[in-house]
């Protein structure tokens, strides 16, 4: 209905070009590779070269493959229970009940936000593995204690139970803070005690959030990668990676089997997400809204219950904090202290972060030998530094790319609201959400490992350093749905009348976008960029799937430090691993602070902060002048 619709404008040309680019991106890098994976299941040839579409399915039903599916399901089901129990506990203990030291407890419970994946799993291994500190302690205290308890299913479940509560701390915490405190007061007024109120008033309002969290946890369990790989548990994802690297010489059609497993994983995910979105469509959203009526903490009146709640809270705190504290402490210890897992009060050093040192030892013949540079810090070790640099570039580029694609798409979606084309664009961007990350990466790896893909100029993208381009694409695609959800929410906050106002004042579409809309959404965009970067910087699952010597990302390097530690040449690999985790914690912590602390300020708050600084400065110089006069 707009008056200028009929005019042929540069904007229209730009829009058409962008749509074509988008279609190329969607079909070329989302749909076709994944469809190829699906069809590859049925493209299996037997040893005689005969095509046998059902061979993989038969193999699946007859062989040991269902075990991997069952193992993943078992993990997912158990995680739903344990993560919910722990996650709900954390939120109630910090937000609902009046527990002494809740602030400190909360900080401890939130540590999983600043380190996860490989960094977290290796941290847990440092404490709980056979020669780990805590296991050694337990072994000394209880001679019958099984030193290898921390392996396989137990270890994965234990680690992931505590590692996967970040979402609870984000969304459930927000939901409980959003509860209208008057309802709690009303229930108390009618004679209910805090536990009764919790059960009958508070928890029912949290059910939508809990439902969403449960589905998310289930999917996390199904798609678990770093914990099962590092701790040795036969679930779907590690098996796909193993099969992807295997060849027909070793076993029957490994690629088709990997494809089948990833499709099974995708089916589970699609079903679960369909259920979730049907549920959300009824109006149950994970909300991050702010409410002004603040929930007041409930005192536990029963003294026994109160003491028990405190003990429980602090045990959880210790579980969360121990790995963090130990990793930080040991990152400043020398290699012998780390190897012996014994704190050496004289062994403080910065060598795990900066610089190199030689390692001398006495060999079998009694001669002293020196290995030059066998001890090196995170920022001096070539391999580690290489991993950091590579991850930094790949993550930054992909995080930015995802933001740019989503911003342009959102601008289009909001302009053409209600039109078919805009709905298509939106669904296309949400498409990767339905697919497990491993399916996308596996599909890339197999589909682009060929020089017959015409739309990338017949260049094998899995070959040599091109794999880095492939990783950037995979990172970008995987981050699109999250970026869309967040940036779309920001677009919703733009008052439609603003655009009308700008146009009325003579502004063109592009100008309005750049000068009016973009500045409004910019804080959200920067936040999404930072969060994307944060997640990708230490990402393990995808680079592990690509398994390429040209794609040794930071997480892969950290994983490698596990192996290095057993060889004499690289003495302080464990120390460097601790230092790496500390480095990751600092980077993540900084990013989260920037996103949620500084980035959330609006122009008014920024102007006021500026004014405060100016006043402070003026006061300082004013004072200086006065003293001069004196």
């Amino acid at each position: 209905m707009n008056a200028d619709k009929r005019r042929f404008s540069p904007e229209l040309v730009l829009r058409i070009i962008l749509l074509i680019l988008f279609a190329y991106f969607f079909f070329g890098f989302m749909l076709i590779p994944c469809l190829n994976t699906l069809t590859s299941i049925f493209n299996v040839k037997t040893a005689d070269g005969v095509r046998d579409p059902w061979a993989v399915i038969r193999f699946f039903l007859a062989g040991s493959m269902p075990r991997f599916v069952w193992n993943s399901l078992k993990l997912a089901i158990c995680l739903v229970i344990t993560v919910n129990v722990v996650g709900i506990s954390l939120v109630l203990l910090t937000e609902y009940f009046d527990i002494k030291g809740a602030r400190i407890l909360r900080m401890g419970y939130m540590t999983t936000m600043i380190y996860s994946g490989v960094a977290l799993v290796t941290g847990y291994m440092f404490l709980y593995a056979g020669d780990g500190m805590i296991t050694s302690l337990l072994k000394n205290a209880f001679p019958g204690f099984n030193p290898n308890w921390f392996s396989g299913f137990n270890a994965v479940l234990f680690t992931m139970t505590f590692a996967c509560t970040s979402n609870h701390m984000l969304f459930l915490r927000n939901a409980i803070r959003g509860i209208d405190y008057n309802t709690v007061e009303a229930a108390r007024n009618m004679g209910a005690n805090p536990f009764k109120v919790l059960w009958t008033v508070v928890l029912p309002t949290l059910i939508p959030t809990l439902f969403s969290l449960t589905v998310m946890t289930f999917i996390t369990g199904l798609c678990a990668m770093s914990a099962p790989t590092l701790l040795g548990y036969d679930s779907i994802n590690p098996e796909i990676v193993r099969l992807a690297g295997s060849s027909t010489a070793d076993e029957s059609f490994p690629q088709a089997r990997a494809a089948l497993l990833s499709i099974i994983l995708a089916l589970f995910t699609i079903i679960l997400l369909t259920v979730l979105s049907a549920y959300e469509r009824k109006g149950h959203y994970l909300s991050v809204s702010k409410t002004k009526a603040k929930l007041q903490k409930q005192k536990i009146n029963n003294p026994v219950a109160n003491v028990l709640a405190h003990i429980y809270a602090y045990i959880l705190f210790i579980i969360y904090m121990t790995p963090v504290v130990m990793i930080i402490v040991f990152s400043f210890q020398n290699y012998s202290a780390i190897k012996g897992k014994r704190l050496d009060l004289k062994g403080w050093t910065l060598i795990n972060f900066f610089g190199t040192a030689d390692y001398s030892y006495v060999n079998d013949r009694g001669k002293t030998k020196t290995v030059a540079g066998a001890i090196s810090g995170v920022f001096s070790n070539e391999k580690t530094l290489g991993g950091i640099k590579l991850s930094f570039i790949l993550s930054a580029v992909a995080a930015a790319l995802a933001c740019v694609i989503v911003i342009v798409a959102c601008n289009y979606i909001f302009k053409k609201k209600g039109k078919k084309m805009s709905a298509l664009v939106e669904y296309a961007l949400l498409f990767p959400w339905l697919l497990p990350t491993i399916l996308i990466c596996y599909s890339y790896r197999t589909y682009f490992n060929s020089d017959a893909v015409w739309y990338v100029g017949n260049q094998n993208l899995y070959f040599g350093k091109y794999v880095r381009l492939l990783i950037i694409l995979a990172y970008t695609v995987v981050k699109l749905p999250f970026s869309l959800r967040m940036i779309k929410a920001a677009f919703y906050a733009i008052d439609e009348e603003l655009e009308d106002a700008a146009r009325n004042l003579g502004s063109s579409g592009i100008r309005t976008f750049l000068q009016v809309k973009l500045p409004i959404i910019l804080p959200s965009v920067l936040a999404v960029f930072a969060l994307n970067f944060n997640a990708l910087f230490t990402e393990y699952d995808m680079s592990a799937t690509f398994q390429s010597p040209n794609a040794i990302t930071y997480a892969m390097v950290i994983q490698g430090m596990l192996a290095d530690a057993t060889r004499g040449a690289n003495m302080n690999a464990l120390g460097r691993r601790c230092a790496s985790t500390v480095f990751i914690m600092i980077v993540s912590g900084l990013i989260l602070y920037l996103v949620y602390g500084v980035g959330a300020r609006d122009l008014g708050e920024r102007l006021e902060a500026k004014k405060r600084w100016r006043n402070r400065f003026a006061r300082l110089t004013g004072k200086a002048k006065k003293t001069d006069a004196v």
Binding site: A3, R7, L498, D500, R503, L505, I520, L603, E608
Partner: protein, 341 residues
Amino acid sequence: MIKLNDIVVKFGDFTALHDINVHVKEGEFFTFLGPSGCGKTTTLRTITGFIEPVSGSVFVKGRDITHVPIEDRNIGIVFQSYALFPTMTVYDNIAYGLKVKKVKKPEIDKRVRDIARKVDLSDEQLQKAVSQLSGGQQQRVAIARALVTNPAIICMDEPLSNLDAKLRVQLRNELKKMQKDFGITTIYVTHDQEEALTLSDRIAVFNKGYIEQIGTPNEVYNFSQTEFVCNFIGDINRLGEGVLKDLQAAGADVDLKKHNYIRLERLHVNQTPTNGEVVLKGVVESREYYGLYIKYYITLDGQTIKVIEKNDGVNIYEPGQQVDVLLNPRDIMAYEAKEEA
């Protein structure tokens, strides 16, 4: 000045505006009044160019602007939400339109400060973020932004609806004063009849995509052309058959087949009839005390009639009290009964 000729606007199958014809005069304060969904904002958006009519044309100063792009129409708008750009300072908000038009910097500065002074914004306020201003100040910024480009017309879409009651009345007066000072042709959209009556030179009353009446506040209020207008504007009594028969018996010329209405303030209690008033016997049912006036509910020939009496300290009537109700048949507004009514 502004002429709308047979404007028709459709949204899909729904016809939002049916043959709208309006003629706004130079310097006039013209109000579109009506309930929500009646087409008043759609008409405004047709004038400003956000909506293109299916048929009909829009003329400004004799020039057909029906297909002229929004930005070339030279019409200022004050939006309901003010639509101030939150990432810009007050100064930048006001300067935006001039910057887009590539006006020279010193000229922009001069004009921004000039208009700011006229709408009572201080230099300090100009450097603030929009969010640091109060609702009333934000409105002044919105007006300044709309006026700084010297538009021929200014359109305001419910600019007071976001404010609390007291501020609304205060700003209403300021708005009127500003309009008078600037002498600019103004089109004002509101659903608030009091706002329309106090501000406007003329009012167009909208209903379901049609214009029911165009007239001065007095014409619209006292000589409502349609039943909708008389019901929508102000409070009113519809007279029942009993009262009408009594009036007929007293020699008044009333048509029982029509719908007959009378305004509350045109009825009087216990007064001496002077010229042609008819006296009816009633009983006070209840009363509402407003301070400035008192509203009585009086049972009259089997129906309840509302009457407003100025609270001048003369008489206060108690519920149950017998009273004389005076009314002049001349004050009755009668309308042909429509099927659906």
